[in-house]
Symmetry: C2
Subunit: 155 residues, 2 copies
Amino acid sequence: MEPIGIIHSPFADIENMPIQPKGAAHVEGTVHFRESYVEGLKDLEGFSHIYLIYIFHKAERIRLTVTPFMDSTERGVFATRSPLRPNHIGLSIVQLVKIENGMLTVKGIDVLDETPLLDIKPYIRNFDSVEDSLSGWMAASKDEVAKKRSDGRFK
Amino acid sequence: MEPIGIIHSPFADIENMPIQPKGAAHVEGTVHFRESYVEGLKDLEGFSHIYLIYIFHKAERIRLTVTPFMDSTERGVFATRSPLRPNHIGLSIVQLVKIENGMLTVKGIDVLDETPLLDIKPYIRNFDSVEDSLSGWMAASKDEVAKKRSDGRFK
């Protein structure tokens, strides 16, 4: 696997970041696509939201249980979005603002500056909207998520 | 990157599969987790839906433009869910039925049997639900997606 681009954000350090796009709704970032892949972006501009699949490049360890920012109890890492998961793969849904010359401007970015991008997929309502989901231990309100910030625990 | 488990489904061949989980709502599959990672599944059972991130292991080529099953026009591969994308990463949202001894039973599976799993993430409504999204060229109804089947074009 090799990066198809690099994500740029205002977050240079893993501490004090929003912990999810919902906590970063107005934060803009850019995705710089590798020139050889720009052709693959055709038609993407019609989608309002996209998935970014990327590497948590500052995660240096793997832990099978973690204490999430939203919680005070150890949880299995696959029941969280922690970077310390095996393979260190991250997933965020962001708003697509524009595409110009192989550069995407996105809104609601919650990743570190210089994050290597592995894939982009369109958010397709017919495939991706989930009705009546249950979110297990994660009972926090949107307001609470928006206020939470990271610390250094997931380096 | 190495698989954290293997996905089993009734689909042995890339032809005549449902093209998305919405077309496979009642299809059950299982995820067999690597024993060394089973501890990381703790607390996942409280979530009704999960993301599977996996490798399109039968995709042998990369194409930057493709003609999707839902369409008759060539689209940029990143504006589609085609397997022929760089890095060959797949993403599906499935319903979590149960977890027993490191084996997950899931519903709504749309991947090939023996698919290597890279990551599982909980679907968290507060992070992942998108209101008022626009789905670009993809204007098909849920009914239409449910009826569509794959053919051999994405081998």
